[in-house]
């Protein structure tokens, strides 16, 4: 898509502790442009923290994150100050985040939710942003809902608006943190198919999910996280189809055959 350096996302030595809880212990991985990466792992293994670190909603203690041509070395990032804020803002702008609980702005319409970032933050002209937003809403199948407020939508529709809001900023990579976990089972499909669609359009995505079938279908790369390290990595056929680590096998057994 662009001629930024390969790979598009490069994460090296990511380390993070919350007090005594050493959550990330040297995470390394890379993501090529236009590919889909799925993060698997047991609860508490640090998946969310990895995604939030990429979007700098969490500040890693050490480690280097590069997305496109923006690189931040967290070991050297000052704790505060204008320079640090500018670096964080630039890195954050490279990725878009879709939350498990969508976090739409309840006081704004669907359309306003989508154009908020482009207009208020990126300073794009209103009519241009609106045209773009309508196209995105069309893409997620919600063009009719543009003037409604979030509370008038179903959970699946809300999550699709969340996706459109993330895409509207034209990020280099889109991060999904369990985008379907909070949904009723019958609504999961519509959201997953929107995400699948993104892959075919060339978006680069990193997805935390427990939907193993979905992961097998879309993932170009699967990372299995365990206790803050990447325990196993490879294609979905390798990691899900033929795991080499006992921890991975245990995890897959539990998740495929619950109870």
């Amino acid at each position: 898509m662009t001629d930024t350096p390969t790979p598009l996302v490069d994460v090296r030595g990511l380390d993070k502790a919350f007090g005594d809880n050493h959550v990330l212990r040297g995470i390394d991985f890379a993501v090529d442009a236009g590919t889909t990466t799925v993060l698997l792992g047991p609860s508490g293994s640090g998946k969310t923290t990895v995604l939030r670190s990429l979007n700098v909603l969490e500040t890693p203690d050490t480690g280097i994150v590069r997305i496109g041509d923006v690189e931040v070395d967290f070991a050297r990032l000052p704790a505060k100050g204008k320079g640090a804020r500018a670096q964080i803002a630039r890195l954050r702008a490279q990725s878009g985040m879709v939350f498990q609980s969508h976090n739409l702005f309840p006081h704004k319409t669907v359309l306003e939710n989508v154009i908020e970032g482009p207009v208020q933050v990126q300073g794009r002209p209103l009519d241009e942003a609106v045209a773009d937003a309508r196209e995105l809403l069309d893409q997620v199948g919600l063009s009719e809902k543009a003037e409604q407020h979030p509370f008038q939508l179903s959970g699946g529709q809300q999550q699709r608006v969340g996706i459109a809001r993330a895409l509207a900023l034209r990020p280099k990579v889109v991060l999904f943190d369990e985008p379907t976990s909070a949904l009723d089972p019958e609504l999961v499909g519509e959201v997953l198919s929107v995400i699948k669609e993104l892959a075919t359009q060339g978006w680069t995505t990193i997805i935390v999910t427990h939907e193993i079938r979905f992961a097998q279908q879309v993932a170009d790369q699967v990372l299995f996280l365990d206790e803050g390290v990447v325990r196993e990595r490879g294609t979905s056929a390798q990691v899900i189809g033929d795991p080499t680590q006992e921890r991975t096998r245990q995890f897959l057994r539990r998740i495929l055959d619950p109870g």
């Binding site: 909603l57 505060k80 309840p106 006081h107 407020h149 809001r165």
Partner: protein, 490 residues
């Protein structure tokens, strides 16, 4: 911490703006002599029920003195119990309000030559037996302004003194039998009887044999003004002006000793309650429009800014800022508003911050609202889910932009009902402002009440005015709440 600096800026801005507004409200050049007077003590100092102008014997005397002495006058109306504090604080330069000479006052103040000779009288409910002289008051209760000479006489006689604001209130307590008697100036008592046409109370006897002398009071260090006043009084006595003013009110010359019995029957006409209310309706409404409401609105707006600043400081994560915010909130919530008003108006001049009445009122009320609303704003901000901040961050918004566009609109839903209560309380709290010399609705009612020597119908009218405005506010609150709840599934 960066937010901290902005916050500090916000607070400083408010603190700078407040006195700036103050400077705007102060007017007139310096060589003006400010006269403290009650405005609620007929026939000496009261508001004419037709014109609403301040008038009375003392008012006319000081005007005549000013003319002779070449002063420009500015009248400041205050309750008697705050009048010496105002003189001490330099808010006024002279008291023209029947200040009776006594040794304590001689020691503390510069007292002029005498312009009124009068006798104190004991007033009781008509038909009361056994109270005719001071010694009869032993063990009884009287109603007085606490800092008056008459209060001292009552205490010395062994009476318990109930503090009141002005003659009309004292008279009401006597009529209702809540106190046994009051001691006041013969002339004031006669004025009451004439104005109300009431025979519920009567003069039972004199308060001691001595004739008391009333004088203008200056600060001790203001010898020049005192000198000019005495020269002017001598001239006014010599040319008969003083006698003329006195005869207009009392038919006799009270500015000399032993002038005989005063006759106040030619004074103000007796009015019915309906006429009293009718006469006062417009001045009171005007005070509501030009003082009560604007002060409420301005103080509420500034108070909200302070509240937001304090709330953000409180949750900022900076120990210093949240410490400051918590101390501020605690002080405001832990002390009476009346005290805060006194400190801002009478206390700050001691350290060189001399705010005129309006700005002082606005500063005190804003600080008060800020302290109360801070906790409301804080919990409203905290009621917005953390995910909303994160969603705002993730689309690239900074701290202030997130607050303004995402957090505040949602926090408003939680904050509006309690803030409406704060606003409604504030409106009613403005009725305390007469202590800082602001003529708002309630003070105007007091003026009218003392001129009419009856206050029940006028306070009732004030109550109706307050109630109507509060009802309108409550209706507005309902509409805003409906608007804010529009986007929330219930």
């Amino acid at each position: 911490m960066r937010h901290a600096r902005r916050l500090l800026g916000l607070v400083l801005l408010v603190l700078v703006l407040l006195p700036a507004g103050a400077a705007g409200a102060a007017e007139g050049e310096r060589p003006v002599v400010r006269v403290g007077t009650e405005g609620t003590y007929p026939p000496f100092s009261f508001h004419d029920s037709d014109t609403n102008d301040l008038t009375g014997y003392d008012v006319e005397v000081i005007k005549a003195v000013a003319e002779k002495a070449g002063w420009k006058l500015e009248f400041v109306e205050t309750t008697f119990d705050a009048i010496f504090a105002a003189l001490d604080a330099g808010r006024i330069d002279v008291i023209a309000n029947q200040v009776t000479d006594n040794p304590e006052r001689q020691a503390r103040y510069g007292l002029s030559d005498t312009y009124t000779y009068s006798r104190g009288v004991i007033v009781v409910k008509t038909g009361t037996k056994g109270i005719t002289k001071l010694s009869d008051l032993k063990g009884k209760t009287t109603a007085q302004s606490l800092t008056t000479n008459y209060a001292d006489l009552a205490r010395e006689a062994g009476a318990t003194v109930e503090g009141v604001e002005g003659f009309a209130q004292a008279a009401a307590l006597v009529v209702q039998g809540r106190v046994d008697a009051l001691i006041n100036d013969n002339l004031a008592a006669l004025d009451y009887l004439n104005t109300t046409g009431s025979d519920d109370i009567e003069i039972a006897g004199t308060a001691g044999d001595e004739v008391s002398e009333q004088k203008l009071a200056f600060r001790k260090d203001d010898a020049a003004l005192l000198q000019q006043a005495n020269t002017a009084l001598a001239a006014l006595k010599a040319d008969g002006t003083l006698a003329k003013i006195s005869e207009k009110y009392f038919k006799i010359d009270v500015s000399v000793e032993n002038s005989g019995d005063a006759d106040l029957s030619g004074g103000r006409a007796v009015r019915s309650d309906a006429e009293i209310v009718q006469d006062a309706a417009w001045p009171m409404f005007r005070a509501l429009l030009i003082a009560t409401i604007p002060i409420t609105v301005i103080s509420f707006a500034l108070g909200l800014v302070l509240a937001v600043a304090a709330a953000l400081a409180n949750i900022s994560g900076s120990r210093i800022l949240s410490g400051i915010a918590r101390v501020y909130i605690s002080i405001i919530r832990g002390t009476p508003l009346l005290l805060q008003l006194f400190i801002v108006f009478y206390g700050l001049p001691e350290i060189g911050i001399d705010l005129p009445p309006w700005p002082a009122a606005i500063v005190a009320l804003s600080l008060n609202v800020g302290g109360y609303a801070a906790e409301i704003v804080r919990s409203a901000i905290l009621s917005v889910p953390k995910g909303q901040f994160e969603a705002a961050s993730t689309i690239g918004m900074g701290y202030w932009q997130s607050l303004r566009r995402i957090v505040f609109p949602q926090a408003a839903r939680t904050a509006v009902p309690p803030l409406s209560n704060t606003l409604i309380s504030l409106l009613k709290d403005t009725s305390l402002l007469s202590v800082v010399l602001v003529t708002e609705l309630f003070r105007e009612a007091q003026n009218a009440a003392s001129s009419a020597q009856t206050f029940f119908p006028l306070y009732l009218l004030a109550g109706v005015y307050y109630w109507v405005v509060c009802a309108l506010l409550a209706a507005g609150q309902g509409r805003i709440e409906t608007r804010l709840n529009r986007f929330v599934a219930r």
